[in-house]
Each structure stands twice: as C-alpha cells, then as structure tokens.
C-alpha cells in the first residue's frame, strides 16, 4: 500500500471524493471493503495522519488565570491601601497588605485552576466510539483511532466519526445542520456525482460531526481530524465555554448588592472614626480592610469549584453531568420520567418462551427441554430464521465468552439461536441481505429482504399489534392459513398474556417475495411470538422508594407492551396495584388537542406504554405547565427533542445513541435508574453545601462588621487593626468555608421536598439565622473583653493592647468553632455531617497552627499588633468562642427559628 499524506489523497486524482469511481477512490485510500484494514496498517496510518480529533482552542494558560485574580475591584482597593501606607512610610503595614493580596490571589488561582481541571477531566470521560471493520471483524474503537482507508458502519443515532464515502446504505438519512444549516435530514446513498456538486448535495459522502437520523450504512473513511469539513471550520468555531449557571449569576448579583451595602456602612464607620479623633490613615486602612473582609467576593468561584468537584464525584459514580447548571437543577427535580428497558431493567434479553400456531414452549430448568419438542419443525425453523436474518447485531465466541455488538434484544435472539446449535454465519452467508427497512420507534417494525435458497424472502419482527396488522396469513404447521380477525384477536390476547407475565414480546413474520415487491411489510405470514425476559435491576426498588421519600414522582414511559410495563411497574413499586391507570400511546392526542381532563390524567398516571418520542415531548410539556422540574431519560435519536425540552435530559451511556448523549444534560454510564437518584442526591448535597458555605461566610463577615461598628459607634477604647481584619478574613473565612463545600450530605437530604428553584440562596428565614449567629458571635467577642477586664484584670486600668488582643483572638475562635453550627440538627452533635467531615478538622487544625505560629513568630506578632497574653486570657478567649457555638446550637435546638429539617 502506498503511504500518502492527507493532501496527496485529495490532490492525487483530478476527481474529488464525491466524483471519483468507488474502486478508484478505495484503491487510492488503500481500503479493503471485504476485510478492512489490518491492525498494523491502521497503526502505520495513525502515525502518518495523526489522531482523528479536532484541535481544541488553546486552554487559558495558568499565568493568565493567576493574573485574572488581580482584576477584582477589592484587590484594587487593597493595593490603594498599601500605596497609602507606603506614602505615609508605614512600610510594615504596606508590605503586609501586599502579602495578603498575594495570598488571596493564590487561593483564587488554586480554586479556578482546580475547577478548570475538573471540567477537563470530565470531558475525557465522554469518549465517543466508532464501529470499524478491521481484520474481517466489526468492532467498536475510539473515534480518535480512525484513519483514512478504514471501513466503518453506522446506524440511526450515531455521530459520523469522520468524512467518508458511502458504498452501501439502507434508507440512510443524516442531519447535517451543524455543517450546512439544513435542519431537515438529508438522504444519502452510494453513487458517483458530478464534479461541481456543492457540499449540501454531496449525497454519497458523510461528514464528521453530523448525525445519522435514520437507516444504516457502510462507508470508507476519506478524511480525519482537521482534514475534514468540520476541521476546516473548527478554528472559526472555537471551544464553547460553560456559561455561568443560574446559581453563579445569583451569587454574583448577591455579592454586588452586598458590596453596595458594605461600602455604605464602611463610609459611616470611616466618618465616625474620624469624628472620634482616630488617625486618618488608620481609619482609611480600617475602612478598606473592612470592605474587603465584609464582602465575600470569592462566592461565585467557590460555587463553581463545588459544582465542578461535585461533577467529578458523580463521574466516579458513573454519572457524567455535562453542564454545571444541571447539577443545580438536579436538586430541584420533582418528576423523573424513565424508560423501562435498560434503565429499570438489566437489558439482558433472553428468550424464555416461543409461541406459534402449532405449539408453545417456555423455558424450564430442564436443559434438555428444547423448543423443537414443543413446536412443529417448520414453525420452529422459520422463527429461528427470522431471529438470525432480521437482525443487525453480531455475536462471536471469544475464549468461552460471548462478545456482543448491537442492540441487546437482537443479540438476545442470536444468543438463543447459538445455544440451539444454529450456525449464524453460515445461514447469513446462504441468505445475503438485499434491502432493509430499519426499526423505528414510530412503526415498531423491522423488515429485511434476502436472497435465500427458497428464493427472495422477506423477514420481519416487531411489536405484535403492529406486525399482526401487516399479516394476511398465518403459518399453521407447514402451510399458510388465512389471518382472520378472530385469529388476529387471539394472537393479540396471547401476546398480552405473555407480556403480563413480564416478558418482552416480539412478533415474527415472513413472506416469499417472488415478485420482488419493494413493499416489504404487506401480506406477511405471521410465524409466532418470541417472549424475552429482561430482569429488573436489583438496585431499582430501593431507588424508587428513595424517590418517594424525597418527594419525587417516578413515571415509567416506555415503548413496550402495557401489560409488560405494568408487571414491571408492580415489581419495582412504581404502582401499588394492578388497577393503576396505564396510558397508552394511541390514547394520547397531540398536545394541541389536549383537554384539561387529559392533562389531569397524564399528570396522575405513573405508567405510559407504547409511547412515541413525540408523545414524550408532550408529556414533558404537561408536567412543566404544572411547574414540575422534569428529568427525562432517552437513548434514541428521536428522543433528542424530549431530552432538550426536559429540565434534566438524561441519556444512556452504555446503549444510548451518540445523538442522545450529545444533547443530554446528564449521561448514565451504567444506564441504571439508581444512578439518577444518586445524581439527584448529590445535586441536593452540593447546593446545601454551597448554602452552608454562604451562611457561614456571611455570619462571620457580619460579626466582623458588627464588632467594628459597635466599638466605633460606642467610642470604646479598643478596636481591631486593619491587618488583623485581613488576617481573620484570610484564615478563618477561607479554609473552614472551603471544607464546608465538600461535606457529605446530611441524613435527611433525601427526606426533604425538592428545592424550589426560584427561591433565593438566602431567603428571609436564613437571613434571620445569619443575624442571630452574627449577634451571638459579636456579643461573645465583646463580652470576652469585658469579662477578662472585670474578672482576671479586676482593679487594673483598661489596657487597650490587651483588649485588642482578646477581641482579635476571641473573634477568631468564635468563627472557627462556628463551623460546627452548620451541621444538621437531626443528629447528635458528634455525628453531624460537619463533625464527620475530616476536611473541617484539617482546616481547623491548620488555622490553629497558623494562630500558634503568628503568636510565636515575633515579626508577624509585631505586624499584627499582638502581645503576649496570660493563660487565663487564652482560656477566656477560647471559652468565649466555645460558648458562642453552644448558644447558637441551643438556639437551633430550641427552634428560635425554623431549621432546614422542619
């Protein structure tokens, strides 16, 4: 094979890809459509052409993220304060303020950098695969490994992995809106086109990044990575950044309002201080330090960090959340509309029963009890033929292990045939496929046409109600009887009976197509029914109970038979009795024609069966009209509109199509319903943690403001110094607050009603709590000074330096111990989620270490105006801090205000 670069492939012949003859193009590309590339060839080509990836726009370099931290207006204020200090030759103060600015910048840089890394790690987890034919076998490989010359297969729901020339297709349609802007899917078929055919009309080519909406096909890869149509425009598109989430926007707005209030207060304090005769520089620095300390300017970046870390944690639990905003919305979910097959069930289809006109078979424990003994041979053979030929999946034995590629229902049928000793490959070889009507969720039927030793034949399988309507005959023994309305009714009843025992029922039919009719699904001969068991997932009943306790409704929305849906619904606890209402797809009018009674019925029903993707969309609309926050699962290409419309679109990661995964907010890697509940729990925990963090920070900041304001307004002879304020802000605010952001959830997280997504971060109830906390901390802080003076130093004159130190350290300890007040009241103190959060203990330990260092390192002690204190004074400081914590906890216990759990 001649080694070529991408440019040579394009330029070697005068004919472009769409205008070249197939054989000539494939020879140029080195493609072999019978065997595919070998592993060695693919590896060599990968070296030449590089990975099939669109080059990402450059990530923001670390130094830019660091410099961005200095853009904050409060940082500018601090620099102004430092400059003023230097101007007045207060070198120590000025330097210390600049050190604070640097430390703040480092902390902000770390948080933003970590958030960015979490997002990048998440992107790597959502790898897209392609079905490539190599070494004579079809297998799934990472899309980035594709090279020119590869033979690829694709079907409805797949993303086209590279630019490719089509050579075989069945009713193939592709959505090319990302390239051409054409919103209607385009039909694709093999052929040679004129040289001057424009891109939008190149119907024999597929382009990377487009989606297959219908049908399937085979093609040879001609362009990969940046040498694709998508690659040509990729540099114009750039990468899309995550938009600010609603929570981040709320926090930004909240910070903005706080800044205005704080600036007002600070101006008042500045004025009062001047009136009281304090030096202007000291009051200027105090005011600036107070402005910086009082405003929690890191709120939104900490929220981002908590959300990003939450997303990573969910990823480890097999849930990929693709948008930060989805993590917020999860906490407010009130309804989950879930698929049945694969989400509530294991999607491990096994044939457990067969039924035909001549007999029936159901699987028993006796391995020797084969279907052939129960069904006439002609019917048995015909059913096996349908199972093998009307089937696009592959199954191979590899070291005593079966490797399955394709839809689980289809591989289940193949497994059944294999276990009965059928040679699948031989039969397929003897009866090659001529054409196909692929399965669609609208028709619920798949049909294929084959050239068999008996002549041209059609085989079909699908939903019993739909397929029976296409059948004019019934296979009875070895001859065709007429399909009368009575017989049709009897077979529908048989299908219903099988479904009500929990089996997924697939009907099979066939016909001789001697006249080579293009209409494959007419005048078919009904062959019988396959009953397939799809056991429910073991973890689902508990997850459904959790949802009920959490005030979340679970609604099953399935394309399956209503009796099967009901049986599974009962088993899993979605419905309590067999009398529960099941809404059928055919009973569901279009949304525009719905009456109020219909909407009420839909809102109350727990099971929807034989539902089409369009009806899923209508159902979401009905729920959203009632202000529900709806999570909807989907896996097919036609589920994309419903996934977009839902508040949380949930795609299946294992068996879902790439289209569904691309539009969804969340992807379940294990396809399990229980993972949705895990994600909702995590979403609630994250939001709770952010709220805890905000409440903690605000109560600390407010207490600092209150202490300084009260001392200033009462003209007391002690006050906090500017550097002390900054030290408290840096030490006590940041570390314990960050630790709060990673707390595991409290025990009652999933026993509370879903959060109202409209409610503010801090409502009136929480503001009252914050004022209470701040008041207690302020009282304890100022109280400690008086207590120390009137007990330990009774009889002495007021020592402003000592008073200042007690004020300073008591405020530190009060705020540090206050972190434990953020825990749940439902548990004893020592078992709350905050006490059990080891990061809180690390943060406190570190803060105490810093305090110890500041006290013992003389230059730092001098800069912070700290002088040696007696043991008794330390006891008073620490004791006052603990007392504040106890009083607050008592207040919560005595329900001075409503707690979260009430």
């Amino acid at each position: 094979m001649v080694k070529m670069t991408q440019n040579e492939v394009h330029n070697k012949s005068s004919d472009p890809m769409w205008a070249s003859q197939e054989n000539e193009l494939f020879t140029r590309l080195g493609a072999d459509i019978k065997q595919g590339l070998s592993a060695a060839q693919a590896a060599t080509l990968l070296q030449s052409f590089g990975p099939n990836a669109i080059a990402n726009a450059e990530q923001t370099p670390a130094w830019k993220i660091f410099l961005r931290q200095f853009k904050s207006p409060l940082v500018v204020l601090l620099v102004v304060a430092a400059s003023a200090s230097f101007a007045f030759q207060e070198w120590l103060d000025g330097t210390a303020i600049l050190v604070v600015v640097l430390i703040n910048a480092l902390i902000g840089f770390y948080m933003e950098f970590q958030a960015g890394r979490s997002m990048a790690a998440l992107k790597k987890m959502v790898a897209i695969s392609a079905k490539a034919f190599r070494n004579g076998k079809l297998s799934e490989i990472n899309l980035e490994m594709l090279v020119p010359g590869d033979v690829i297969y694709f079907e409805a729901g797949d993303m086209t992995p590279a630019d490719a020339r089509l050579y075989n297709s069945a009713q193939l349609q592709v959505d090319e809106s990302s390239l051409t802007g054409e919103s209607v899917p385009v039909e694709k078929e093999p052929g040679v086109l004129p040289t001057d055919t424009p891109l939008a009309e190149q119907s024999n080519l597929l382009f990377k990044g487009t989606f297959v909406t219908k049908g399937n096909g085979w093609a040879v890869v001609a362009g990969t990575g940046m040498n694709t149509e998508l690659g040509k425009i990729a540099h114009l598109v750039g990468t899309s950044e995550q938009a600010a989430t609603p929570l981040e926007k709320k926090l930004e707005a909240f910070s903005g309002r706080l800044i205005k209030i704080t600036v007002g207060l600070v101006v008042v304090i500045f004025g009062v201080g001047l009136i009281g005769g304090k030096p202007i520089l000291e009051m200027f620095e105090t005011s600036i330090a107070l402005a910086v300390a009082a405003v929690p300017e890191g709120l939104s970046i900490v929220a981002t960090l908590a959300l990003a870390q939450g997303m990573l944690r969910l990823a480890r639990q097999k849930v990929i959340v693709r948008k930060l905003s989805a993590v917020e919305t999860l906490g407010g979910t009130t309804v989950i509309c879930t698929d049945k097959t694969g989400t509530l069930t294991q999607n491990k289809m096994e044939v457990e029963a067969l039924a035909s006109a001549g007999g029936a078979w159901a699987k028993s424990d006796d391995a020797a009890d084969l279907p052939l003994g129960h069904l006439p041979e002609a019917q048995y053979r015909r059913l096996l033929q349908i199972a093998i030929l009307c089937n696009n999946s592959e199954i191979t034995a590899h070291k005593k292990h079966l490797k399955e590629i394709g839809d689980p229902l289809e591989t289940g049928l193949l497994k059944f045939a294999l276990l009965l000793g059928e040679d699948i490959n031989a039969l397929r070889h003897k009866s090659p496929k001529l054409s196909e009507i692929p399965f669609s969720s609208e028709t619920k039927i798949m049909a294929t046409s084959h050239k068999t030793p008996e002549g041209k034949m059609v085989f079909a399988k699908g939903a019993a109600e739909e397929l029976l309507d296409c059948c004019s005959f019934l296979l009875d023994a070895d001859k065709n009887a007429s399909m009368t309305p009575q017989r049709r009714k009897a077979w529908l009843a048989e299908a219903e009976k099988m479904a009500s025992s929990g089996l997924k029922v697939i009907a099979g039919a066939f016909k001789l197509n001697t006249k080579d009719s293009k209409v494959l699904t007419k005048d078919l001969v009904f062959a019988g029914l396959f009953g397939m068991i799809d056991p429910p997932r073991k973890e689902v009943p508990a997850a459904i109970r959790q949802c009920r306790d959490a005030g979340i409704e679970v609604v099953m929305v399935t394309g399956d038979h209503p009796a099967a849906a009901k049986a599974i619904g009962r088993q899993l606890g979605i419905i309590e009795s067999d009398d529960a209402d099941v809404v059928l797809g055919k009973e569901m009018p279009d949304y525009e024609k719905l009456k109020a009674a219909d909407k009420t019925r839909w809102a109350a029903a727990k099971i929807f069966a034989r539902v089409s993707p369009k009806q899923k969309l209508d159902l979401i609309r009905v729920f959203q009209e009632r202000k529900a926050i709806v999570g909807m699962t989907g896996d097919g290409v036609n589920d994309a509109p419903a996934l977009k419309k839902a508040d949380i679109g949930i795609a299946m990661g294992k068996h879902g199509t790439q289209v569904a995964q691309d539009v969804a907010d969340m992807v379940l890697r294990d396809d399990s319903f229980a993972s949705i509940v895990v994600a909702i729990r995590q979403g609630r925990v994250i939001f709770d943690n952010i709220r805890k963090f905000v409440i903690y920070l605000l109560s600390c900041n407010m207490s600092e403001l209150a202490v300084i304001a009260i001392v200033s307004l009462l003209f007391l002879h002690f006050q906090l110094k500017p550097l002390q304020i900054l030290f408290i802000n840096l030490v006590t605010d940041v570390l314990p607050a960050l630790a709060l952001g990673v707390t595991a959830g409290g025990p009652l997280v999933m026993q509370q009603k879903p959060r109202n997504t409209e409610e503010p971060i801090i409502d009136q109830r929480r503001w009252r709590r914050i004022f209470f906390y701040a008041s207690v901390i302020t009282a304890a802080t100022i109280g400690a000074v008086y207590f120390s003076h009137y007990t330990i130093h009774a009889g002495n004159d007021w020592d402003p330096a000592l008073c200042n130190n007690i004020l300073f350290f008591t405020l530190i300890f009060s705020q540090l111990f206050h972190v434990f007040n953020m825990g749940s009241m439902a548990l004893p103190f020592w078992r709350t989620e905050v006490v059990r959060n080891r990061y809180v203990w690390f943060a406190l330990g570190f803060c105490f270490l810093i305090v110890a260092l500041l006290y013992n390192i003389v230059p730092v002690r001098t800069a912070l105006s700290v002088s040696p204190m007696s043991v008794a004074d330390w006891v008073v400081s620490i004791g006052a801090g603990l007392l504040a914590m106890v009083i607050i906890r008592l207040g919560k216990h005595l329900k001075f205000f409503q707690n979260e759990e009430q």
Partner: protein
C-alpha cells in the same frame, strides 16, 4: 486497620480498559488510632490505590513495548 478487603473491577472501554479499585476496611480499636484512621485513613487508602494503578499501568506499558 483491622480487617480490610480490596476490590478490583475491570470493564472494557473504547480505548482500553476501565479499572476501578477500592479498599473496604474496619477502623482500628483504641480512640487514638480511630482518630488517626478518621483523619488520615481515607487519604492513605487513596494513596495506596493510586500507586497500585500507576504501577499496573507502567508494568503493562513496559510489557507491551517489549512485545513490539
């Protein structure tokens, strides 16, 4: 730690194999060791698991390069 159990799960993926490793353990007796376990047990376990994964990856890469 007293009793502990290691978990090891492999899943095929598009570009290789996904490996999930875990350690389940009983905390030790004695308040001091329980406190140490509470503060540092998780970190130590994560460190062990990360090292095991990294070493396994290196060993497999080394084996593959020798095979070529």
């Amino acid at each position: 730690m007293r009793w502990y159990r290691m978990g090891f799960e492999t899943t095929p993926s598009e570009s290789g194999t996904m490996v999930t490793m875990s350690i389940t353990y009983e905390p030790p007796r004695g308040w001091f060791y329980r406190l140490l376990s509470f503060l540092f047990g998780g970190l130590y376990c994560n460190w062990c698991l990360n090292n095991m994964l990294t070493d396994t990856k290196k060993a497999l890469e080394h084996k593959n390069s020798h095979a070529e």
